[in-house]
Amino acid sequence: MTSQIRKIHDMLVSKEISCVELTKKYLAEIENSNKELNAYITVTPDVALAQAKAVDEKIARGEEIGLLEGIPMTLKDNISTKGIETTCASKILTGYKPIYDATVYELLQEQGVVMLGKTNMDEFAMGSSCETSYYGGAKNPHNTGYVSGGSSGGVATAVGASLAVYGLGSDTGGSIRQPASFCGIVGLKPTYGAVSRYGLIAYASSFDQIGPITQSVEDAAIVFDAIAKYDEKDSTSQGGEATLPTLENDIKGKKIGIANQYLNGVREDVKEAVLSAAKQYEDMGAEIIYFDLPELDFALPSYYILAMAEASSNLGRYDGIRYGYKAEHYNGTHDMICRTRSEGFGKEVQRRILMGTYVLSAGYYDAYYKKAVNLRGAIVEAFDRAFEKVDVILAPTAPVTAFENGYLFSDETDQIEQYLSDICTVPVNTAGLPAVSVPCGVDEKGLPIGMQLIGKKFDEKTILNLAYRYEQAVDNFKETKWGVKL
């Protein structure tokens, strides 16, 4: 797959198409297919066309435009946009219009962005299939009988179905990579701190990170370089190192690690696809090193305890007093808050708030929260040790391909299974590492399989370089029947 951003950029510069025409094409396709794909929660034609017009005027004046200028894109609906409804796909944020822009959206606006709308997601990013959305889940563009993945399902569907050139999602335990993998596209979860979280509505603050979902690796690199800036409004932000200059570097001699634990419980066809990618890397001159990472077994319980604990606190503010949904009938302040939250939050969100509250409670804190913090430390150290031996770690993005619609929430499915599906993605968030998911094959139903390359902290350039070289050698991108054809 080649860079769609460059392609469209060239079309704009050569005046092959105007930015307004281009934007209208996307808006028309969204109009056509969103009912079926359910990728967008809010479409913003007025905003997009105004932004497109400004780009056209600039081109008409003969001014140079940047790579991202005029490229139609989308934001996950947990990224705050001034004056544009931002719902987190929750009833509780119905009608909430932020009074400020998230830093990432500010940065993109400075670059002349065209924002088509806000995309669907699991409610408050809690889920792996996009199905916990108050608005119903986004469908997989390769087969609408299957989910888009989650939580950034709407972005993945929109980009996979060419209803946006790229999108920004957020990844707390795999929410960028897993849907990108399910939809057969590229998803980059940057190092914790590389991209500002200011304006990202928090799920679990010490895990959340915004990143790009794109059709090509180069596009992911372009977007990452544009948004990985230090932000004084986010104390945990540091900015990132540019990835484009080294994107095409030779990968000869690179050491790619495969942790045996990452392959445990992974479906056979997925495992095979990942191992054949490893073979491809070997053919390109990289060295494959198998090793053990036993601490990975602790990653999931540790993640769920810490993420739910933080979520229980982060979501305490939705009380119906200042913004969003408020219960209609109530008796006094306390009752109003209880009813608002009971009616406004979906089942999965309530479950996680309850569990998070539980693990922080007096008497349970040491048994759960504190232990999980210690395990997190052990996982961080284990990755540090691993990266003394290897440059990147190669792993499946998910143990399976996209679930059938409704599968995770059917009566036969164990609740734990939903959580287990995050087993490959979660350790990266626990350790704050960067990882990029790229398509590496399809299963017998034609559903995409994804693999991820995990890097050292702030070493996005190496994982993107390796991902790029693989993509250039083996193009697994599959066009869908949807969206804009250029």
């Binding site: 932020p98 200011y198 104390s235 913004y323």
Partner: protein, 470 residues
């Protein structure tokens, strides 16, 4: 049986930094409701706190001024509870790693009140109840606070009163807070219990909240002491609970019992990074601290030989002490300046607020000039008083009110003339003196002083009289 009171304090002090603890909104008191607010301090989804460095600095100043140890590394934690005045449903505070620990404040009876910890946190908004409706004003939300927690070291209400006064005095000296209890920039919660005198074991404590003056703290403590003693004497037991003080009825009533106590589910604030406090920074802050009231008191009483009672008055407010220090500069007897301040100047400052502001037309340098003239004999004592009154009225220097000749004293011829006049006018006194009555000389001196309208130097007059009488 006699019962001993045991009490500890938790005091919230609002820091007077220009901006709030996690955003750049103003901390100014008042303002129309919800006008000193931004997305961060009203906790809008997606916003993140950014720690104001000044808050850390002010807290360290407070810690150093109360002899605390300053942590090298500190962190912020979330204290979770749900209340409409707390827009994030958690308060960002410090739990197990406060900035300052193990300090103390010494009371005038020599007892030390140990300070367990001082930590930084954000204030909540305010609920306003109006005709059955409740409104929230978030102006105060995010105003920086320090919470100063003492050990249960208080044994009397007087100690408690003095502690609060000392704390106010120290915080105002170092300029971190105005500590106005009426405006809520200083708020005290008191933990109080009683035990039979001589017993080492602590009794069950109650916590009293909602006292907005030192007088009310004293009243509430007295009431609660009596209530607990009565309860025990009548065979009952004190229940651990939080009480609200009602100053209209001077009683306490239950707010919540131990069972209803919040589980704050503290955990580390993930949106803020660790606070590193380099030792050099602590030393810099220590060097920048002004001389504290206790140090001044010691200097005034020991070096200047000023009575304790006067030294207490001089050190009460920083403005007075600094005025005095300048007025007393290089004086042989600094007490002279002290007396003018506590006498004539204080008489013009009617209220405590006036004394605290200490706005006086005469500058400390002018008072110093006057005192120096007194010491060198250029200005006579009895003229000084009138001169100072005129100086205080006008703001002009002493030289404007004391003529050249006043300052020069009397020339020898005039002095001889006045003394001769006195001898001629009071033969009996002269006889008495000659007869050995030393005291008679004083009558003659008085006469000379009268003639000179006070300008004559008593010592010189006496010498001259003795010489003339022979």
């Amino acid at each position: 049986m006699k019962y001993e009171l045991v009490a500890g304090f938790e005091t919230h002090v609002e820091l007077q930094t220009k901006t709030k603890i996690f955003c750049s909104c103003t901390t100014a008191f008042g303002g129309d409701p919800n006008t000193h607010c931004c997305p961060v301090c009203i906790g809008l989804p997606g916003t993140l706190p950014k720690l104001n460095e000044k808050v850390v600095e002010y807290a360290i100043m407070a810690g150093l001024a109360t002899d605390c140890e300053i942590a090298g590394i500190a962190k912020m934690d979330r204290k979770n509870y749900c209340y409409p005045d707390l827009p994030k449903a958690y308060q960002i505070s410090q739990y197990d790693k406060p900035l300052c620990e193990h300090g103390h404040i010494t009371l005038s009876n020599g007892r030390q009140i140990r300070i367990l910890r001082i930590h930084i946190e954000e204030d909540a908004g305010k609920l306003i109840h109006n005709h059955g409706d409740t409104f929230v004003d978030y102006n105060r939300g995010g105003v920086p606070l320090i919470e100063i927690v003492t050990e249960p070291d208080f044994r009397s209400v007087d100690e408690a009163k003095e502690y609060v006064e000392r704390l106010q005095q120290i915080m105002r000296y170092i300029g971190v807070s105005d500590c106005r209890m009426q405006e809520g920039s200083m708020r005290c919660d008191v933990n109080i219990s009683v035990r039979p005198e001589g017993s080492e074991k602590l009794g069950t404590r109650t916590e009293i909240k909602n006292m907005n003056s030192i007088t009310n703290i004293a009243k509430a403590m007295e009431y609660e002491y009596e209530r607990q003693v009565d309860l025990i004497e009548s065979g009952g037991a004190v229940v651990q609970e939080t009480l609200r003080y009602d100053d209209a009825t001077n009683t306490t009533s239950s707010m919540r019992s131990k069972e209803d106590a919040h589980d704050y589910r503290y955990f580390r604030e993930p949106d803020l990074v660790t606070i590193a406090v380099p030792r050099e920074r602590v030393e810099e802050i220590r060097q920048s601290l002004p001389e504290l009231p206790a140090q001044k008191f010691k200097r005034y009483t020991e070096e200047f030989e000023i009575p304790e009672k006067d030294a207490e008055k001089l050190t009460k407010y920083r403005a007075i002490a600094e005025y005095f220090d300048e007025a007393a500069k290089d004086l042989k007897a600094p007490k002279t300046a002290a007396n003018f301040i506590l006498g004539q100047i204080f008489r013009r400052l009617e209220t405590e607020a006036d004394k605290e502001a200490f706005l006086v037309k005469t500058s400390a340098a002018q008072l110093n000039e006057m005192c120096k003239m007194l010491e060198s004999g250029k200005l006579k004592n009895n003229l000084a008083k009138t001169a100072l009154e005129k100086m205080l009225d006008s703001g002009d220097p002493v030289t404007k009110f004391v003529s050249e000749s006043d300052m020069a004293g009397l020339d020898d011829n005039t002095l001889t003339e006045y003394c001769q006049n006195a001898i001629n006018a009071m033969p009996n006194a002269v006889a008495d003196y000659k007869g050995g009555k030393e005291k008679a000389l004083m009558a003659l001196l008085g006469n000379v002083m009268k003639q000179s309208r006070g300008r004559a130097d008593a010592g010189a007059v006496k010498e001259k009289l003795k010489e003339l009488i022979g």
